[in-house]
């Protein structure tokens, strides 16, 4: 619980009111996220994005598996599946660590049964990171995906 509070406080410091709004959502697990996280999605560095979503200091977990191709020839469409055996999952965030805007997606979940899949853009070879909040704690795991042709423009 302490780590959760600490993460919340760090987020609030760096991202101001937006993080406070999200933290308000976090205090009621299972409820809808109040607002689209402008600070998180607008962040240009993974560390800033993690801070904005309360994911700084998340514990590395072997109970999270990221299924994604080792080599993605087309960075415009990279299938990513997050599988976790953690109980009481409240939310999952997906990040591409070297994307122009690392935060790709955030999902608030109720009655979640362990598997979530989506397709993301990747600009270059990087870690795909998942941040899972479960039972009031924050866990993370990453997998490197090599990208042959980037899919973010520039």
């Amino acid at each position: 619980m302490n780590r959760h509070r600490r993460t919340f406080l760090q987020g609030a410091t760096s991202a101001g009111l937006v993080a406070t709004a999200i933290a308000a959502g976090l205090l009621k697990p299972g409820q809808v996220l109040a607002d689209w996280n402008a600070a998180g999605f607008g962040a240009t560095k993974t560390a800033d994005a993690l801070a904005a979503i309360g994911g700084s200091g998340a514990a590395e977990s072997k109970d999270i598996t990221i299924k994604a191709p080792d080599i993605a020839e087309n960075g415009a469409v990279v299938p990513v599946e997050v599988v976790t055996t953690l109980p009481n999952v409240e939310s999952i965030a997906i990040l591409g660590e070297k994307n122009a805007n690392p935060l790709i997606a955030q999902y608030m979940l109720t009655d979640f049964d362990g598997t979530l899949a989506t397709r993301m853009r990747m600009g270059q070879t990087a870690n795909v990171r998942a941040v899972v909040k479960a039972g009031g704690k924050v866990y993370t795991a990453a997998k490197e995906v090599k990208v042959t042709v980037g899919g973010c423009g520039g």
């Binding site: 415009a76 122009a100 805007n101 979640f112 979530l116 989506t118 973010c152 520039g154």
Partner: protein, 100 residues
């Protein structure tokens, strides 16, 4: 313009496939060299029989024609699954499906 999508639900899994450009605002038009304006789905909400089971927030890093699939506990055949989406320009879409 309404956001078009297909929804399939069954065997404890909900799958959604949308038709949407999902432009992140960073790509350039190959001919004009101008940046293509950001145009992406921001919010996705999934409910079973009116009860929210997922609220998703997306950025421009989601691929064109966004795909989402997830497993949910307790979904039964005949349950009504509603998926609603809204993009950054205010376009919306909503589709109902019956779980098999």
């Amino acid at each position: 313009m309404a956001i078009a999508m297909r929804v399939r639900a069954g065997s404890g899994e909900i799958k959604v496939l949308m038709t949407h450009p999902s432009e992140n605002g960073l790509r350039k038009d190959a001919k004009s060299g101008q940046l293509i304006p950001a145009h992406f789905v921001k919010n996705v909400v999934v409910a079973i029989n009116g009860k929210n089971v997922m609220t998703g927030h997306w950025g421009g890093g989601i691929s064109k024609d966004p795909y989402l699939a997830f497993k949910v506990k307790g979904m039964k055949a005949g349950d009504k699954v509603t998926v609603s989406a809204e993009d950054n320009t205010g376009d919306k879409g909503s589709v109902d499906a019956t779980a098999s």
